[in-house]
Amino acid sequence: MNRGEGSFEVSPLVAAAHELKAPLALMRQLALRLGDETISSAERQRLLQQTILTSERALRLTSDLTKSARLDSALFQLEPINPDQLCRDIVGELQPLFKAYGRSVAVKGRRHPLLLVANRDLLRRILLGFSDNALHYSQPGTAVHLQIQAFKKSGVVRVGVRDFGPALSSDMWRTLQKKLDTAPQAIHARPESSGLGLFIASQFADAMNGRIGAVRHKDGATFYVELQASNQLSFL
């Protein structure tokens, strides 16, 4: 999994341990709170749901890590995919988690459908990872948007996840841009991130001949993956 010198500021193993520490610590605190006999039945149900959703987030990361480690030996079928439909499936999957956090997630689709060339599972994992990141950094009450854009000249389709939260500082943005230019490699998007999620996303994008990137906004950021548009686009 290590892509050579300088590709990760800490080893992927350390980064994985760091990334898993937070959900495990949260689950432990939720479980300790559940042990309090004075809490109400409604509170107990809420804590149980939070424990389940937190474990599912952690399990997604472990699944991505396994997939990432086996990328070299695996064969991935690339096929024409409708990103709008995939984004809607992801939104359906993530809705309970976002709702539990007091946030929403929606697709900002295109009027005209288009196709891109990708492996459905890898693209889904990238977008789930970006969405998970967006959930963490978005402000309560805001919506995270999955957006699809086509660039005709370059024949590329961009699928992005836009969050509305604290802006990246200029220093962090410069670091991010520098690292994005030489992706795939570790990208430290935000201070608490080890960069593992984006490292995995860049590996998955690379396996599909694509790339990841980011756009900074005044009120948040968009992390995206760019993939080749499908020739079948012309038949639609």
């Binding site: 520490k21 610590a25 949260l26 939720l30 709170r33 956090y101 963490h136 950094y137 309560p140 604290p166």
Partner: protein, 120 residues
């Protein structure tokens, strides 16, 4: 009632910790990030700050620097409550006003209360 400012960007963990602190008889206010914490320092006037280190937007040290810039806020005792407690030397943290470090990965509810009472 002693005022405790809890700075924690994970809403669910913040809710659990706030309940524990509140149940122990403290008045608690929660900030999800450093800018919100700075606003609450001015309006809520906390007597203790329980601070996560890895926050969305900026780290706790940006907030600690801000607090240390003023003589009144610099006096407010800070408890670091973090997943990376093993990376800090409590002696080095003293200059930031940090009185205690609590390890989030191993702490029990009573630990956070003991830490608060210990710095008052």
């Amino acid at each position: 009632m002693t005022r405790v400012l809890l700075v924690e960007d994970d809403a669910w963990l913040a809710s659990v910790e706030a309940s524990i602190i509140s149940d122990a008889g403290f008045e608690v206010s929660v900030a999800p990030h450093a800018p919100a914490a700075i606003e609450l320092v001015d309006s809520f006037h906390p007597e203790v700050i329980v601070l996560d280190v890895l926050l969305a937007g900026s780290t706790a040290f940006a907030l600690l620097n801000e607090l240390q810039s003023y003589s009144d806020t610099g006096m407010v005792p800070v408890i670091l409550c973090t997943n990376i407690a093993d990376q800090f030397d409590a002696k080095q943290l003293k200059e930031y006003g940090v009185k205690k470090v609590v390890d989030k990965t191993t702490m029990y509810p009573e630990d956070i209360i003991a830490a608060i009472r210990g710095v008052l």
